[in-house]
Amino acid sequence: MNFTISKRAGTTTLVLLAVGVLLAAIGVIGDHTDNRQYSWAAFYANALFFFFIALGTLFFYALNNITETGWTVLVRRVYEAIFSYVPLGAALVVIALLAGSLGLNHMWPWMDGRTLDTSDPNHYDAHIALLRPYLNLPFFWVRAVLMIGTFIYFARWFRAHSLRMDQVGSDGLLREHWSMYNRSIGFMVLFAFFSSVLSWDWIMSIDVHWKSALFGWYVFSGMWIGGMVTAVIIVLYLKGKGYLPQVNGSHIQDMGKWVFAVSFLWSYLYFAQFLLTWYANIPEEVTYFKVRIDHHPALVWGMYFVNFALPMVLLMSRDTKRNPKFLIGVGVLIFIGHWLDMVQMIMPGSLGDHFEQIGLLEIGFFIAFLGLFVRTVLGALAKAPLTVVHHPFLEESVHHQI
């Protein structure tokens, strides 16, 4: 069965895009920070948030291939549609990184050449000079191009290969399956490494004086939960429209379980990072949390509550995971919770005191990106049959029962 974008969905995404751009434009005009840094930070936080959702889904897709998971086969196309946003999302992230490198914004202090100039005592920063072998623009861009190139290559290859599997008969199917399996392993090895590197390069180096060994995992688990929540919301939307008739309560419950489980993983890593910093109480480590918790306690603890306590209490029972309306409601809350997480990762570090509370810019860019993201995903969904035609585990997935 093929998916056609309903008129209403098409208009809604366009309206979201237009309203978001309008709100963001008003915000940008009213932005009085130097270099319009606030606008850049808000843009960057949202660009990363949606790019990470696509990346987390790409990871989960490869994970399913490697573990040869049967039950997800019916919803593979949904994952593929979400990670079809990878190229576009990467381009938008690159715009912000490029602007930083060209000096159009100063979110990354180390990108500013003056921090290395010993004759300029106002700007010279001995710590940044120490990090120069790693944090310098040429090496940074080599890494960025390598990582983004890898993600785009694999996203496109997985999608193309999945469509190819639809065409082959039962003879070639197993060979195609193994080819997918092997590529997924290759991707996973690279992703394990790159997910940490990109979190240091793109996020942690905003607070350049701060380091955390757990940060890479924390960012990665944020990507993963973003992908899980988005996937379950889209599957429930499609089911509500009468698509995916073979997806039954067991599939939905399992997808809800992933939301529940990865929420715990994320909470565990976030709290482990916080706990070690709190306990050790070393000045260069606590700065990160000091900036955030002293000035934005409601934001930090609010997002932790939404991302940890809500899924724990609300998604624990089997019935809530099988109730579509309830699951969508909790899913949307967690989605917003992780957006808040991204905001508190990017904004206080890049703006300092200029960031007081979430305003027009963050919300405007969020709405615009949401429109763009949903439009891309629905567009990709409409391009191919909504369930795979051939897959070694298709039968198993159809009869999935827990």
Binding site: F271, L275, W278, Y279, N281, M316, S317, Q401
Partner: protein
């Protein structure tokens, strides 16, 4: 008329499921099934009630959390306040962050052990308990379906065994009880 138990032995879980489906649609109540491993999709066929083990687990978890809070409070704040790394120890809420790992682990420990032990007690399979399965082969490679005449007054013994014989049954054993 004395009550009888009928055990029908099957060689394959799918055959047993087909048989159970046939019996239930004829209005026969299946009392129990003994199998070496959980048979997927059997519960709704023979109308088993949903397990309440999850609720037990949750209650044990709450119990463990409360016990851990009480324990950390008594040991670290009330009885002998310890100064570790200069962390505040005057009030519980000031130091609760450092107890989080303990609270978490103790909650999980209680929930998991409570659930496992409750499960073993309910199944009467705690170590040392006498085995209840009617046919030892049901722990190896056979699947046994249990019918009781007292559950099925609408059917005579002969009609029950007759119905069983129509399924892919390996052997039928009857026992007085």
């Amino acid at each position: 008329m004395s009550n009888k138990v009928i055990y029908a032995v099957y060689e394959d879980p799918e055959l047993l499921k087909d048989a159970a489906r046939k019996l239930v649609s004829a209005g026969v109540k299946v009392r129990d099934v003994f199998s070496p491993f959980p048979v997927h999709g059997l519960d709704p066929i023979i109308g088993l009630k949903r397990t309440r083990l999850a609720i037990v687990s949750f209650m044990f978890g709450c119990f463990g959390l409360s016990l851990a809070i009480l324990g950390t409070y008594y040991m670290m704040i009330y009885d002998w306040p310890m100064n570790i790394g200069g962390k505040p120890n005057g009030f519980y809420y000031q130091n609760v962050t450092s107890f989080v790992p303990v609270l978490f682990e103790f909650t999980v420990l209680n929930a998991a052990h409570g659930m496992a032990i409750t499960y073993l007690i309910r199944n009467k399979t705690l170590p040392g308990m006498k085995g209840r399965n009617p046919d030892p082969r049901s722990t190896d490679d056979k699947f046994v379906l249990e019918l009781r005449t007292e559950d099925n007054h609408a059917h005579s013994d002969d009609s029950l065994t007759g119905m069983l014989r129509e399924t892919a049954v390996l052997e039928i054993n009857e026992r007085q009880c």
